[in-house]
């Protein structure tokens, strides 16, 4: 069966390849038709775009249903665009990446499988890394996991280090998903390890607030103290005394602990020594 190659438009968008309209036709079109067709095309090319459209509408109105079906198949691919492959050809890789950055993980993985060029745009755009970073910014569970496991591979690399190659992040994503799934399943099935720390308050027992990291737990207590507990031994390593009311809220970083109390003061403590640096009265 002969396949007629029809010419593409000037833009070099994908050519339409269709079987010929009349597959029973064995002869070449007649010489009369060829001459008349050339004459018509010469007129056509001189007309304005609006006139050309009107002319084609006239032609279509004179055609039968079967012809319409054939024309429709011819036209359809001309109206399609491979956005992700075409944009880099115009130097607009970042716009292709912008489109792909809206995809969820499943869609991104399907997009990688479309064709080589889509795979290249996703790899060179480091889109898996960006997806993980977005999750870490917007989801506290992801943030928590990242800070424990792999935050050094995300965002800006440490001075002197480079980013990992894109593959690293493509495999990292499902590993994180598996970790999240097993955490959730552990909670659901009660497969957690419980350790109790007795805060040893003489009176006014109660814990109002805490923050923790891999080394310590900093707790604010109803007995007016802040107690710091070692994560591995569960022993109390510091007792910060100074507040004259329950410690209601606190936050710390690598330098200080800042606590708020029902004694209406805010206190700043040295996180390493436990010494009182400053306190400010918040009441009017």
């Amino acid at each position: 069966m002969e396949i007629t190659r029809l010419t593409a438009s000037e833009n070099n968008y994908p050519m339409t390849i269709l079987p010929p309209y009349d597959t029973a036709r064995k002869k070449e079109p007649s010489a009369t038709f060829n001459t008349e067709r050339e004459a018509c095309l010469k007129y056509f090319e001189k007309w304005s775009e609006t006139d050309q459209v009107e002319f084609v509408e006239n032609l279509l109105a004179r055609m039968c249903h079967y012809q319409h079906g054939h024309i429709n198949c011819y036209l359809k691919p001309m109206l399609q665009r491979d956005f992700i492959s075409l944009l880099p050809k115009k130097g607009l890789d970042h716009v292709a990446e912008h489109i792909l950055s809206y995809l969820d993980a499943d869609s991104l993985r399907n997009a990688e499988l479309v064709c080589k060029e889509w795979f290249r745009v996703i790899s060179e755009g480091m889109l898996w890394k960006k997806l993980i970073e977005r999750k870490v910014r917007t989801d506290t569970l992801w943030r928590g996991l990242a800070e424990r496991r792999m935050i050094q591979y995300l965002f800006k690399p440490r001075p002197g280090e480079n980013h990992r190659p894109h593959d690293f992040y493509r495999f990292l994503y499902p590993q994180i998903i598996r970790d999240i799934d097993s955490i959730e399943s552990n909670w659901r099935n009660g497969k957690h390890v419980l350790q109790r720390i007795n805060c040893r308050s003489e009176n006014s027992k109660g814990v109002y607030c805490l923050q923790y990291d891999d080394q310590k737990i900093v707790s604010g207590l109803r007995d007016n103290t802040i107690k710091v507990w070692d994560r591995s031994t569960l022993q109390c390593t510091k007792v910060l005394i100074g507040h004259t009311g329950s410690v209601l809220c606190l936050q710390y970083d690598d330098k200080v602990i800042i606590s708020g109390s029902s004694d209406s003061t805010v206190r700043v403590w040295n996180v390493n020594t436990g010494g009182d640096i400053h306190h400010a009265d918040t009441s009017l």
């Binding site: 968008y13 399609q80 607009l92 716009v95 993985r109 990688e112």
Partner: protein, 162 residues
């Protein structure tokens, strides 16, 4: 209300309110660099945008003229594609060729709102589809060889586990 004349690549001129035209950072910068003269009406040439597309861009900008300025990419927000307004959705019910030209124009003219909504629209055409469906949507040929494809599918099986 001062107007500005915008000239498309095919020579057609469009008269537009200056404030509407300035939603395009490119045009805004051009005007600031040239200096605004109220006496003569400035003609801003836009050689990268044809009249059909420029007409549509002006239509979008006119409808959105009272929008608050878009925030700088707020990286702490989830990226959503389900928040396209119904007016924009209707406006973008066009063939892919026109949508592509609108993306190019929005990028060239630096109109963040239009670029975002057109890109979201394309993303929505990709979302939720298997690779073969994506290829049908955009008329893309599968150029992976059989061996590379099967190795690749194996590596990606984690997605199937859901």
């Amino acid at each position: 209300m001062p107007n500005i004349k915008l000239q498309s690549s095919d020579g057609e001129t469009f008269e537009v309110d200056v404030e509407i035209a300035k939603c395009s950072v490119t045009i805004k910068t051009m005007l600031e660099d040239l200096g605004m003269d109220d006496e003569e009406e400035e003609v801003v040439p836009l050689p990268n945008v044809n009249s059909a597309i420029l007409r549509k861009v002006i239509q979008w900008a006119t409808y959105h003229k009272d929008d608050p300025p878009p925030p700088e990419d707020d990286e702490n927000k989830e990226k959503r594609t389900d928040d396209i307004s119904s007016w924009d959705a209707d406006f973008l019910k066009v063939d892919q060729g026109t949508l592509f030209e609108l993306i190019l124009a929005a990028n060239y003219l630096d109109i963040k709102g239009l670029l975002d909504v057109t890109c979201k629209t394309v993303a929505n055409m990709i979302k939720g589809k298997a690779p073969e469906e994506i290829r049908k949507t955009f008329n893309i040929k599968n150029d992976f060889t059989a061996s590379k494809k099967s190795r690749f599918v194996e590596e990606n099986e984690w997605c199937e586990e859901k």
